[in-house]
Point group: C2
Chain length 294, copies 2
């Protein structure tokens, strides 16, 4: 089976599991559930849950035990998109080819659906930790909580909306992206490895690689915002230029940015060799990420 | 020492602990920390942390072990106020006598500060659970997570903004309030009892009492919105009438509502007698809640 087939197959198993964590009975409960599911099932590459599931599996952990954490990390990613799209933030109408949450359900429900997804992520992980016999689940939850929080993704978002400027340095841009995108991607890999039982040395190495994967992902995103196809991406491009945001292509030029992508890709593949696990899935994911068109 | 003195003394010990959980180093980190602390330290009665600390203490638990959960529940309460006050929700400019978060820091930061407080609450509880030697901490976190989530407080908020009408029944109003206010107040008491080591029978009884305390709290809030003093309350009154919200006074009339408060108070005090602990603190809190002017 090709890696892309394996990827699709895994995600096809994952997605029906994911939606079982959201249920509604009363009218109000059905409304918030519908609103959360609308964004959660709107597609998306499922890169974070996939990395978590793969790292857990590679270190010998089970699919079933890692599912709640894969679900939680996708819920956290989705809540961040819903809140980022709000009129008071990036003010985006379109996401994954569909109207954004606040366009479809109103701003009030979009705020609450985001809150609901973040809270549900922690409910799901807490339940899993209570079912667990060791503290791997708690450690995975700790990793994800920190990466999503005010020293991680939320900090990146604050830096992005408040400290972006056309004159910023490469270091500052890396700082924003490391937090805004890098931390949660790193946490997907790290939490998966924790759940699978990786030792401290392996974990530290996974962390190093994780940040680089996150950076790669963001740089490719920036390139797609310049050269990408709106149809394939399912969102408006050229948004960074419109919002006067500094991007890698704006700072380095398109060609040097593409060179940086290639260098990062090589660096990750090289670092991956030091891990004790079969890293075919990681190599395939990195290749897919750096060549992706959407 | 009178109970009110004891209350003030405990909160004076609690508040400096609470702020240590929020720190910022970089500029962006300082900004989000400042914004979270602005709302977290804007006063408030600290009813939820106080109930949690008292129940934990009454069942034999330590102050130190219960602090992270008391902090977490106050963070969750505060995040819900910040998001409730947003222009797309209740659109309030004033809270506890000060400009609301979005007036002071802008809507984008208010959304992120709310997200940050919710996420930090779970970071704090996860750390505490990792430090703990039994699963009481995890069970307390589970209680708080459920009460705050889409079957609890968030559901109540959805019901409040989407299913409020002038013609609603007393049952529907109780349903909204039980979720919007009752669940988190109940969870404060229940989580405290869990941390203190209460057995299942006691916990079930604490749950019953907790919902009634939550309802009492909300009914008094409704009365204060009609007859309260804006100066003492630190927020605009008559907001419910302005927003065409059904309240207990609107539904039952002011006198019958006051009778219901007295009945609930008596019921709680009576139920409290069946608990195995010294419930003086609960009696004092309930009396304070039902006579409060702010």
């Amino acid at each position: 089976m090709s890696y892309l087939n394996h990827y699709s197959y895994t995600i096809e198993k994952f997605e029906p599991e994911m939606v079982t964590y959201i249920k509604g009975t009363s009218a109000a409960s059905q409304l918030i559930s519908e609103c959360m599911l609308y964004s959660l099932t709107a597609g998306g590459k499922r890169i974070r849950p996939m990395l978590l599931l793969e790292f857990c599996h590679a270190y010998g952990g089970g699919f079933k035990e890692s599912i709640p954490f894969a679900v939680a990390i996708e819920m956290i990613h989705t809540y961040s998109l819903i809140h980022d799209d709000l009129p008071c933030m990036d003010d985006d109408d379109l996401r994954r080819g569909m109207p954004t949450s606040h366009i479809k359900y109103g701003e009030d429900m979009a705020v609450l659906a985001g809150d609901g997804l973040l809270n549900t992520a922690f409910e799901v992980m807490t339940e899993a930790a209570l079912d667990s016999h060791d503290n791997r689940a708690l450690k995975a939850m700790q990793t994800i909580a920190k990466a999503a929080g005010t020293q991680g993704m939320i900090l990146g978002q604050v830096a992005d909306i408040k400290y972006q400027s056309r004159e910023m340095s490469l270091e500052s841009l890396d700082y924003i992206n490391c937090h805004k995108t890098g931390k949660l991607l790193m946490a997907s890999m790290y939490a998966g490895a924790v759940l699978g039982g990786a030792n401290e040395m392996e974990l530290s190495h996974v962390e190093t690689i994780g940040y680089k994967v996150g950076l790669l992902f963001q740089i490719v995103d920036d390139v797609l915002d310049v050269v990408g196809d709106e149809q394939k991406l399912g969102k408006k491009t050229k948004g960074d230029a419109k919002n006067e945001k500094t991007t890698y292509p704006a700072l380095l030029g398109l060609e040097e940015t593409k060179t940086r992508i290639k260098l990062l890709e090589a660096e990750i593949l090289n670092l991956a060799k030091a891990l004790s696990i079969d890293t075919t899935f990681l190599e395939e994911t990195v290749k897919f990420l750096s060549c992706r068109e959407y």
